[in-house]
Symmetry: C3
Subunit: 410 residues, 3 copies
């Protein structure tokens, strides 16, 4: 192909990479904003170290697990070795018409940490730092790339008669995080004082501006997450993906606004913020397949679902401080299914393939995250002690406070 | 035209789209920062839902009102139908040499919500949420695209003998918001305790870091707002626009610094922050016509104007918590006029055309926003009751606080 | 060269320009977050006005000092005149194959303010505003471009037998700021109460979320700072630079995590945040020369160094509230040296050239910043009085508070 188009494609992929990078600040802000001031340093610490873990483990092992290439050894597992080694023609369209080898690596590497970041939100305010970092190393470094290989690395989900379809990762990225979040939140148990004899007691987030900053940065970055998943700068496809991404986020906000107003008779900003994310997660699997109306419907349903899911998980006493399971797991599943119900690939065969993908990924992620969390729980323990949880993790794990100059209510 | 240039143009327009998107976080942060903690959730709620409204109404109706195309029915009004329908060749340079149909839509859609966001700042801390959302739906969905059509959709302002000139929207975007802000602030009346028998009592913003984040994000996004308005990636024009945009913002900061120091004998950061925005709004109408020196003069005067405008509106007891009218209306008018005074088009004929544009847009926007706000005022009411205003809108409209963990002074 | 590649190159340079721009918000957030609430307005004021100073002085004089071009008058000093004047063919590849004249100017102009921003952090919480702005005008307007000319403008450091190498400015940008920071912090003396008879008393930053936002925005912008320093959109080089930049930041976080845990037995988030920056500063001189493993080593060592440097400067009672000297000077020197130790240019000859560059730049910057700060100290004074320092600069210099609605502990 010509050098001009190759250079443009690669430029777009690099810009998309940076946009995905800033999503990590989005996750950090959202999670910090929706939890209590006494645990803020802990949350920011985790969310700073997780992208660092993601980048380093992905360079060391993840990239070669996810894209085994010529060293492919099977449909479920392949591995091209430790570390990055430059293939012939790595900086030209010989490697790929959309990007160089390094662009390929760095774009995918930015995604990798997302799985652990999602888990982070659900286990916040009570998990021990060390075990969580250990979990992240394994989940991001090994589990995520194995799942990714099944679809994006040419594995068995891509080889089904009607291939499983997941454009930018409703299942491959978001549900992977979501399943880990579910297992983590379940094994940890709820925060002290959340579910009492008198019923569920909401624990409000301490900084709504931070949470809002987080959601806007995530939406901003999602244009790179979905737009970059086109893997070229093709004008038609990327602009379509921008539109479906924008519309689904907006419709998600409305869906959550209406559902939460009907349910709670108040304008709940945390629901609207999660509604935006719900819309975005929902469109992610099929962002390149849908029209404007379909994107609006898929996003709107996602925004509605998230409200009911939050209520549901509270009812079964799975305590998820930021709603990560509702957003990333429930809407990840919904968005993946929506590929079979709307748009260019709609049909019962596709629904079936989507269900296979959802199920197999779910089984693997529940299994591996259970194995890791459960082993940690039975050995070094995963939950801070009661005094530490009440005083806050910041003072106990980090010997400091996020806001030392301000008087707090507690 | 060749596919390479088309692809580059479209890529730049998509990047510009995202930059305009993040301006909505800029507006949200600025407005939240410059108002009181007890109304923060309310402000963030509005500023999250407004872009969602903008995107959805623009897809449903606004885009086809603003760019009626072949279905053009007159110089003042045209309409191409409900919803988006893909024209032939939508993804190629057949549609436009600078962008695909979807890029066209999404870039313009990101602008659309700005009009309501500007109003939001001026009516903050006392307007009812429901009526404001209703106003936004009509103002963003109908009034803004009609005005936009007059110039950018080929309407009568573009057809004057010496065409009205407004490169990126000092009048078409900023003054549209500014006039609505003026009408809203006037009809609502000032916040309780602002203008007392003892004179004007300043009500300081509660979070200056948030306000600063807001202004920087707006400046950041303005490179897309102005740079994208070139509508191609033409190296000469876009780089000139970047320079005039950067210089005008910087000069606006200095203008406001000097004017406010002379007037108040202190270094007032809110004036400097609004001075940056004043410079940016001022250059917006002629960002592609000015040299570096002219951009500096226009921005500097804008920064000076905003200081006197803020004082003036306080004198006539129009209470504008964030200075939105001074920034967007006064500097929007100034920047539009400056096109007749400086740069490539300077001349009395152009001044006259600019005045026509300013006047007609002003009359229409005052008329329509008055009609909407006044109808709402006489029916369901637009202002929260006194108790709610004193307690804060957050606890009353949203049943929550933005900072529940912190002790407040009130 | 062909117009397509020129247009792509220029587009990337403009995007990189905006990324560097947002680093100023990163610096503002980081510095505000790591200092006390009573000085927040002052810090944000400085960090808003400094980029404005940078842009305006660079247009007026700096650009022509740094790139004297045909008007070059020597190896140490050259000057092409006051203001910007458009050269023939400014908007085409005649000017440069990578960018237009205006892109050239604006990309470099965004860098210019960085030198003063770095100083700002080290002198925070006790310097008078007026003298600091005066210092910034001279340091950014004159000293920085003179140093820059020595390497990037074709001066003597570029003309050594083995040319001094500094890809994106570990020495030319970061150490210039770092030396000024060292001199400023030394001449000002420590903040009241920092070093007492009972030893060093830490003064914790008041807003860790702000500091975290700052570091992520700096990392985000660094992809433009380093990536744009390629000066074209060349796919191979830019993508390599992205990877080394990302990996060095991640490794810096780990280096600081491990070093600070071993030293302090706690998970210190401020060390990890500064570790990210340390990694980024360290890779900046050789971001285009290193492989992935080398980038990791350089970043990791940078992250480790910053922990020991912070302890060291506290031991010699140089009070640097944000760790700017440790990050930008120590790691700037380290990164510059690393070019002689790792990667494509490694060798003792290169080490020697790097040492010359480090030494000459250091001598000049210490000399000029000493001259400016010392003259100011002996005339109008550079330090606020004791009462003002204790009460905070916000109320005394700006007549306002950053958080008026919140109850503080002091």
């Amino acid at each position: 192909m010509n050098q001009e188009i190759f250079t443009i494609n690669n430029l777009w992929m690099m810009v998309a990479t940076i946009l995905v990078f800033i999503m990590h600040l989005g996750f950090a802000s959202l999670e910090a904003g929706l939890t209590r001031a006494k645990n803020t340093v802990n949350i920011l610490f985790k969310n700073t170290i997780i992208p660092a873990i993601g980048l380093l483990t992905y360079a060391f092992i993840g990239f070669n697990l996810m894209y085994p290439g010529d060293d492919f050894v099977g449909s479920f597992f392949g591995f091209a070795g430790i570390g990055l080694s430059l293939p012939e023609g790595w900086s030209t369209s010989e490697y790929n018409e959309g990007y160089t080898f390094f662009t390929d690596f760095i774009f995918q590497a930015m995604f990798a940490a997302t799985a652990a970041t999602i888990v982070s939100g659900a286990v916040a305010e009570r998990i021990k730092l060390g075990p969580f970092i250990f979990f992240s190393l394994l989940y991001v470094g090994i589990c995520y790339p194995i799942v990714g290989m099944w679809k994006w690395g040419g594995g068995f989900l891509d080889a089904l008669d009607i291939p499983f379809y997941d454009f930018a990762g409703s299942t491959i990225v978001h549900s992977v995080g979501g399943w880990g979040a579910l297992v983590g939140a379940f094994l940890l148990g709820p925060r002290l004082g959340k579910y009492t004899a008198d019923g569920m007691k909401p624990i409000p987030g301490h900084n709504i501006p931070m949470a809002t900053i987080g959601v806007f940065l995530l939406w901003f970055g999602w244009f790179g997450f979905n737009g970059g998943s086109v893997l070229t700068a093709d004008p038609g496809t990327v602009s379509l993906v921008f539109v479906t991404t924008a519309i689904a986020g907006a419709a998600g906000a409305f869906g959550a606004l209406i559902a939460s107003y009907l349910k709670f008779k108040t304008y709940d900003i945390t629901m609207v913020l999660n509604g935006v994310l719900a819309g975005l997660v929902s469109i992610t699997a099929g962002a390149d397949l849908m029209g404007v109306g379909e994107a609006a419907i898929i996003g709107f349903i996602g925004g509605t679902l998230v409200v009911f899911a939050v209520v549901f998980f509270d009812r079964i006493k799975i305590d998820d401080p930021v709603g990560a399971i509702s957003v990333h797991l429930i809407c990840g599943v919904w968005g993946t299914l929506a590929v079979g119900l709307f748009g260019d690939l709609a049909g019962m065969g596709q629904v079936w393939s989507q269900l296979i993908g959802i199920g197999v990924v779910g089984a693997f992620c529940v299994g591996t995250s259970w194995l890791i969390f459960f082993s940690l729980k039975k050995t070094i323990g995963i939950r801070v002690d009661e005094r530490e949880e009440l005083e806050g993790l910041d003072i106990n794990e980090h010997s400091m406070s996020a806001y030392p100059d301000f008087a707090t209510k507690d």
